[in-house]
């Protein structure tokens, strides 16, 4: 019997015991459906994050901080604890957050590194509250987002190069603020567009317990994104806020930064990035690109997806036992037939192939139907979520399907089915035609 014939016969044989085949296919279906869906979840979220990164356009940005600070945030080496060095300056922010600070000298060191176009030191600011024209005060978080990102705005525009705008009624130009959309209603604005152009007041405390207020001009309203609900401030506003927060302190304390936002020269390659990172390391600093940060997020998501995949694979292994069981029954039932075929000259290898092909076909049926329905279900779920609970996260499709990955799932299940089929197939191949044809 030739191979296509064997496959054709095997396919025909699977339909001989329809109910049994159906139940086995169903077990595989459940596993393949789950696996495709969990994979889809991984692809969906990862590609959303990738798209967000691409839209931010932060490929040429790197944030730099002292190595210890970077390590504390989960990036960098696993060398163990560092020895205490009294020379190092630590900075304590309002909320009790402590980190090793970047000095003005460090900033100059960064500037001297080849391939770096611009350095923008970042000072940590921790405002107490924000309010609009004496209304209710709300807590406010300032996002550490570096400048130079293409931000997703619901209204208005991003801040100007100078970071300040003239506002009627104020002597000094006011620093610019991009307000998260979740603050629009609480602060008493009718719509994001209504908030644009308004002046809000930010309260900050100095180390002596005195509160100071800084006025800021709302230049734009941020759409909700994965990157949290923090406001973004221009450098000028940040400096003004920092000044209020450290009023009365000597310059030695105030002339330090949480880190620096660095813009790389255009055309920087991955090798350049590595070299810059190495040079920073020599100076006890560390650089993280946006890619590094997202890599960390992605690996967390991948980890979760694999845990879910693990469950699906357990289901598939259980289904594999179903295949073994089904085929063993089938071999048992067809003892006579197998004996007859062997008596008529069908080789053991062909018999093995016949039953293996049956197993693989059952695997194919279950996984193909499972994957297909998972795609349909996944798209439906994504649609519903995108219209409902996740409508704020624009462009997020919770589940997306990569054809290659779906194909891989189907192939995986077929391989699994083949492995499950080897036991019954070998049993069939070993069968003695005399025994099979013996008259009871």
């Amino acid at each position: 019997m030739r191979l296509p014939e064997i496959v054709g016969t095997a396919v025909g044989n699977t339909f001989r015991s329809k109910l049994r085949t159906l139940l086995t296919v169903l077990a595989i279906f459940v596993g393949a459906f789950t696996l495709t869906l969990t994979n889809g979840l991984g692809v969906g979220i990862t590609s959303y994050i990738d798209a967000q990164v691409a839209s931010l356009g932060g490929e040429d940005l790197m944030s730099v901080a002292k190595a210890a600070t970077v390590e504390a945030s989960g990036f960098g080496s696993d060398e163990g604890p560092r020895e205490y060095d009294p020379e190092k300056s630590f900075f304590t922010a309002g909320a009790g957050l402590q980190f090793e600070a970047l000095s003005a000298a460090d900033v100059r060191t960064i500037e001297a590194i080849e391939g770096i176009a611009r350095v923008e030191p970042v000072r940590v600011v921790a405002p107490d509250y924000v309010h609009h024209e004496g209304g209710t005060k709300y807590e406010l978080l300032i996002s550490p987002a570096p400048s130079g990102l293409d931000l997703d705005l619901a209204a208005g525009r991003t801040y100007t190069e100078a970071g300040v705008v003239e506002v009627a009624g104020y002597d000094e130009p006011l620093g610019e603020l991009l307000l998260p959309s979740s603050y629009v209603e609480p602060l008493g604005f009718a719509s994001p567009a209504d908030a644009v152009g308004a002046v809000v007041t930010i309260g900050l405390s100095d180390p002596f317990g005195n509160q100071h207020e800084v006025h800021a001009h709302v230049s734009g309203v941020l759409r909700t994104s994965l990157f949290g609900d923090g406001a973004i401030v221009s450098s000028a506003l940040r400096d003004a806020m920092f000044e209020a927060q450290t009023r009365g302190l000597p310059p030695i304390v105030t002339d330090v930064y949480q880190g620096a936002s660095v813009r790389l020269e255009p055309g920087t390659t991955a090798a350049d990035v590595e070299r810059i990172k190495a040079e920073l390391r020599e100076h006890d600093m560390a650089g993280i690109t946006l890619q590094d940060q997202l890599g960390a997020i992605n690996s967390v998501i991948n980890g979760l997806v694999w845990v879910l995949n693990g469950f699906a694979i357990i289901a598939l292994i259980a289904a594999g036992f179903g295949i073994i069981n089904t085929l063993l029954m089938s071999v048992q039932e067809r003892t006579r037939e197998i004996g007859l075929m062997k008596a008529m000259g069908m080789g053991a290898g062909r018999i093995f192939a016949l039953f293996s092909a049956e197993a693989v076909f059952i695997g194919f049926l279950g996984s193909a139907i499972g994957s297909l329905l998972a795609i349909v279900a996944g798209n439906l779920i994504s649609d519903v979520l995108a219209r409902g609970p996740l409508s704020d996260l624009e462009g997020l499709r919770v589940m997306a399907f990569d054809p290659l990955q779906v194909l891989l799932v189907i192939l995986l299940v077929m391989v699994l089915a083949f492995l499950a089929g080897t036991l019954p197939a070998a049993k069939a191949a070993r069968q003695d035609p005399i025994e099979a044809l013996r008259y009871e």
Partner: protein, 238 residues
Amino acid sequence: MNAQPRNILEARDLVKSYGTGEARFDALRGVSLEIGSGEAVAIVGKSGSGKSTLMHLLALLDSPTSGTVLVDGQDSRALTTTQTNQLRNEAYGFVFQQFFMIPSATVLENVMLPLKIKGVPPRERRERAMELLRLVELDDKAGNRGTNLSGGQKQRMVIARALANRPRVIFADEPTGNLDSATGEVIEDLLFGLNREHGITLVIVTHDEELAQRCDRRVYLKDGLIVDERGEPLGVPA
């Protein structure tokens, strides 16, 4: 009566034992036998005398404990598994008392099975199978399930299947054992017709003396040994 000088089948001192030690049972205890091409030979004996065992060994379905089977004068032990399979597929046809068929398949599909195993293309095997069904007058039942046929029809279908690859030998184990005498006679006529007209060698296992008498020659088996028609060991005068 046989013009061909060589024997198509030859058994040399066949011994077949089942089990070992205390449980050992010798089904055949040294059987030698020659079958000429085109001959119709009956293997006769009581139930349990070793007829089926002998037939299985001759058809290379099983291997003897000792002794050997020669095919066209060639020692079958020298054949590879593939060659043995090919021989059984192409040169031998099988007819069993219990018919043996694929119950879910149609009559046509059952007849096509040896052709399919051989690798004959679908159109060709369909034509050949239909031709054979016409020969056994079952062409009107081609699309029926094999299990829905009567006993005689089943055995005709099995004969058609045995003929699929134009075999040189047909091994028939009690071919009429499950049939009434009228139906049995139709099957016998069919088999002997094939023997006469196509020179197909017949090896028929039976305990039916009437059927045995229609063969050219009878081989009597008793307790795993060849005996004469009176049941006496060979060489002992009457």
